[in-house]
Subunit: 326 residues, 2 copies
DNA sequence: CGGGGTGATGTAATCGTTTTCATCGGTTAT
DNA sequence: ATAACCGATGAAAACGATTACATCACCCCG
């Protein structure tokens, strides 16, 4: 047996005689032989490893995303190399995955949440197959997979507008520049305008993605004027919970006195009473589409990058249901 | 210039003349040369990649763990290859990380939660540097890093016993065989015995790590007899939240009517009102100790594996505070 | 002035695969 | 009977680095 024959048995079994093949196979099993991946990669320039760069592994969102991505990657024979919080730690290194073992991975999945940093172009310029989650721009030279913030926010706002006059509707977002929050704010305003109401300054607030910000906003608002009769659309569930707690503390009940919708449909929405309405992002699909897109890019670089946008959906629960008062 | 010289400039700069070195460095920068990692690994048999095998990437616990692990690994020049839910998907493949690219990683971090599967021995037999989180056994041939379930559960139980008689204390766990739940149950029982009370069968319940189970348990218990005046120690926060909600639904208030302590000190504990007492696991330290231990094992295989146990601490909040009634 | 030490660099083997090309026996077709 | 062909296998080059060893110029000293 020469090494060449062994290699053929393992890769192109039909090139080798039946008898020889079986003898080799047996030997392989008995000796527990496993081809050396480094040598393989050295030759093929492929590692079957995908790098995933997240703004911050925090909370269930990223956990779920990783979970689904890993599952799909495994199905396709790839492994996931994770890079948490690459963006913010790399001070000004505009290219996400800068600290990454770029030459170790076959491709990169990058999730973007902020407008300024880590432009799509910068990622495209890495000259490595890439798929971007959370940000798209027509004609981008990378695959993009997004969830329809506009659609979800529209649905949420419309739902609130059904039972509440436009001037009593509020949007509580995070800081300007956050891609998600900005889109949601815009859709909120547009929906109000569609009803002929130009949103006042105080109907749209900017803060952070935290419970505390939600609490503070609600408290400040109740101090300024009553929150009773209002409908609030929070840019994420944590903010929503903060608002819910602050409201309850002052004796306001949902949905009777205040109607509330969050975003992300996280676990907590169904852990509170009343349960909180929220816009669902199809995280598993998001992850699995991203993997699929990236693998397509890796294995068929000649094809043009696709731009996928997944639908979101409003899940109505008691916190905003019309007529579900206590 | 020969390639050998270049290699020396990059690895042993002192072996090469100053002038040559600078010339090479300049060329390297201008050409954007980067050594091929595969070739490097082929020779050194090192990839500087660490595999992380988790029972299931789900919820914030694992997100936080990954976050901290990645951070520490990066500091030490390693990358993380993640394998989510390896255990349960690999039907009977007793070795976790079976589906893993074992020959791609320098070492393995495995988190164990169930007794039966994926024995420490099986991991040791992989003959690859390994660190196990969540399970230890004296003399194990792998590094182990655990958090002190017994200590935390003891503190929690003692705290409950301070204001509630032992016969009105309950432990609500997950299924038998779960390492965490079992330890916590044992510590709970021992604490009761230390007060001279042998726990009744119905004082310790087994279910799942879910909100629903907590809710069901509490509801069933309230149907059987009153929960008022009881103190409940839940094996994790989700169960605790289920219990809290069920109790409130029946008009019971915490801590006046029911006192409650959870485990994990997850985000939700401070999102509910009243805030829920819980036992904190030092996740960042857990992750970073695991990485340190593994890297030690990789780089100094001659040293004996260490077994580290991190302390947990009870965080008392309003759900169980004595005299904090409404 | 020649030999040995020294510091800088080049040569070539090596790591473990894949893959091209050559070889070789054996059929088949002419 | 010979040429053409074919299927199976081996030999060797390549992938891109590291590193032991050889080489070489040079300097110092006896």
């Amino acid at each position: 047996m020469s090494i060449a024959t062994v290699s053929r048995v393992l890769n192109n079994p039909d090139l080798v005689a039946r008898a020889t093949s079986e003898k080799v196979q047996r030997a392989v099993r008995e000796l527990g032989y496993r081809p050396n991946l480094f040598a393989k990669s050295l030759l093929s320039k492929r590692s079957r490893v995908i790098g995933v760069s997240l703004p911050d592994i925090h909370g269930e969102f990223y956990a779920e995303l990783m979970h689904a991505a890993d599952r799909r990657a495994r199905e396709l024979g790839y492994h996931l190399l994770v890079s948490a919080g690459a963006h913010q730690t790399d001070t000004d290194d505009a290219t996400p995955g800068g600290s990454f073992a770029l030459d170790l991975v076959d491709g990169l999945i990058v999730m973007l949440t902020e407008r300024s940093r880590a432009d799509l172009e910068a990622i495209a310029n890495l000259n490595i197959p890439a798929a971007v989650i959370g940000c798209d721009r027509p004609g981008a030279r990378v695959e993009t997979i997004t969830y329809d913030n506009i659609l979800g926010a529209e649905q949420a706002t419309e739902h609130l507008l059904e039972g509440t006059p436009p001037e009593r509707c509020y949007f509580v977002g995070t800081h300007r520049g956050n891609l998600d929050s900005d889109d949601r704010a815009r859709a909120f305003c547009d929906a109000l305008r569609a009803r002929g109401h130009e949103p006042e300054d105080d109907q749209v607030a900017y803060g952070e993605f935290t419970f505390e910000w939600g609490w503070d906003w609600a408290t400040a608002r109740m101090d300024a004027d009553a929150l009773a009769g209002a409908a609030v659309f929070a840019a994420n569930d944590e903010i929503a919970v903060g608002i819910a707690n602050a409201a309850r503390e002052r004796g306001l009940e949902m949905p009777r006195d205040v109607r509330l919708v969050g975003f992300d449909d996280s676990r907590i929405c169904t852990l509170l009473r009343p349960e909180i309405s929220s816009v669902r992002i199809p995280i598993p699909e998001l992850a699995s589409e991203a993997i699929d897109a990236l693998v397509r890019r890796i294995e068929h670089p000649e094809q043009d990058p696709k731009h996928t946008r997944l639908a979101t959906s409003l899940i109505v629960r008691d916190s905003s249901r019309i007529g579900a008062g206590a």
